[in-house]
Symmetry: C2
Subunit: 316 residues, 2 copies
């Protein structure tokens, strides 16, 4: 059996956390993977992991390289993917990757690329851990297990204590990502038109009023109203400020529940926390909430045509 | 001669800075104005200056009140105007205010209302000082003088040491405001379609990467490319973070200059600083930059059909 081949790509920030990067590579190798593309860990241009041309080339290379990796894994988030959007070879990427089982995985700033690759190339990518997460001092067990189980199966599932709307059973394409990044593409041709979907969002370190303002943008633009459900992931470190006068994240979410016109389900373990699901962007999904439990099933997404490496079964 | 009548409106945050509010009212009264609507200074609901219904009613009342004020002055910024947008009586406001000389003045979060009132009611409002600015411990002389000279004249002008592009002479509708708020309406029906305009933006307390991400959204959405020029106002307290690695506001602006495809002029005294111009949103304007000096002329906007109050000539 050949080994699982992981190639690193770095479309956003430079890897200031080099210890985590190294630990992530070691963990993946110990699990039985071949990891290449490590040169991106040495690239730095201001706050970015290389010049715009270098970072765009990481992605465009997937359209032309002779042997495609099984997984193209994003090193870390930050900011910088927006700059690349006009420079990607969407047609060539669609042609080469549509029937290939190369899985692009990442989140945070990578959301911008996921939106654009879906809108312009029809590609299903994965909102899942970054190399920085897989190499974190304590990489969550759920993160590691769900990464491998989702990527190596034709169907996957997730369950969590779901608060908010209940008695829900809806189906539609699963999509979403980082809320700030998602909204930063509204009004641009890189924002996909997805109707009847299950939209998930997460963010970190933002005051509640900003979270509400972004969710309002999704509401006022009509995007929210066209979905079957909104799923709230992790919103860590989103504390009110000194002048918020009792207004907090719960107040923001209550306002959104009142105006959204669709079910809103909270508590999904996905985002910038230790536990994060690996979710196929654009895949058919079914969301059910009953008796305080939310369950999300998704199927029909590209996946590896080989079993998970031996070490995937062990905790990170 | 009757007195200039100013009515306070509070569409956003509650007035935590009550000393500034009171000082602003006193200053305006001492200058010879009648100031009413002071009840909005007592309204608080969480971080907002009243419930959504109360704050929307401030604006909608302008469509029905018997005696219109000369100036409807916004108390302060913050967040909360987005919530009001679906609740304004755009048709009635257009009908009542189109030929009236009631001037709506404010900035910051008020940008959301300016965009919506222009898009839906065709109203020309003013990006200018808030009551909080006019009541600030040191209200800038320029702020005070330009407020009165613009609002009481059929034409006005501004000049500043303009950096960036030079040899520019362009004409078009003047529009813009707070960058974060402006971008928070992209993709919604409240964002006006303005082509061939002179777009100005400002922001405060944001890291450079966010400023760049918003400007990229204007770029990728095609809004920037459809303008004749981009004018950068104040960007106070927009310092790089610990991991910005040499990337700063200048680097962000350099990137935007490289991709915008239109002249970019910096240094306009408008935003959250002490000195701020009063600018008519949507009015015909001409921008010239030569020999390091930028000059902006604007005409044909609604203005007061009475002279400035006697005290307007004195420094605040």
């Amino acid at each position: 059996m050949t080994e699982t081949h992981i190639r690193l790509i770095a479309p956003s920030g430079y890897p200031y956390d080099s210890v985590a990067m190294t630990r992530g590579v070691v963990r993946l190798r110990e699990a039985g993977c071949v990891v290449d593309g490590l040169e991106v860990l040495q690239r730095t241009a201001q706050r970015f992991a290389g010049t715009d041309a270098e970072r765009a080339a990481d992605i465009n290379a997937l359209a032309t390289m002779e042997t495609l990796p099984d997984i193209a894994l994003v090193t870390r988030g930050g900011y910088g993917a927006s700059r690349l959007l006009p420079h990607l070879h969407y047609g060539a990427l669609r042609e080469r990757l549509a029937d290939a089982s190369t899985l692009l995985v990442g989140h945070s700033d990578f959301t911008a690329l996921q939106l654009a690759l879906y809108a312009k190339s029809g590609l299903c990518t994965f909102s899942g851990p970054l190399l920085a997460d897989l190499g974190a001092e304590s990489c969550g067990e759920l993160t590691w297990r769900h990464f491998w189980s989702t990527l190596t199966s034709p169907a996957s599932t997730a369950a969590w204590p779901g608060t908010g709307s209940t008695g829900i059973d809806v189906q539609g394409p699963l999509w979403g990502g980082n809320l700030a990044v998602l909204c930063s593409l509204l009004g641009t041709p890189y924002f996909p038109q997805i109707d009847g979907g299950i939209l998930f969002v997460e963010d970190v370190g933002e005051p509640p009023f900003r979270i509400e303002r972004w969710l309002y943008q999704l509401h006022l633009s009509g995007v929210l109203g066209r979905q079957r459900a909104l799923v709230l992931g992790d919103f860590s470190h989103c504390q009110p400020g000194a002048r918020d006068n009792g207004y907090d994240l719960d107040a923001a979410f209550a306002q959104i529940r009142a105006v959204a016109g669709i079910p809103v389900v909270a508590g999904m373990p996905h985002g910038h926390g230790m536990d994060q699901l690996t979710l196929p962007f654009g895949a058919p999904a079914r969301l059910r909430v009953a008796d305080g439990l939310a369950r999300l099933d998704f199927v029909g997404y590209p996946h590896l045509d080989r079993p998970a490496p031996a070490g995937a079964a062990e905790n990170p």
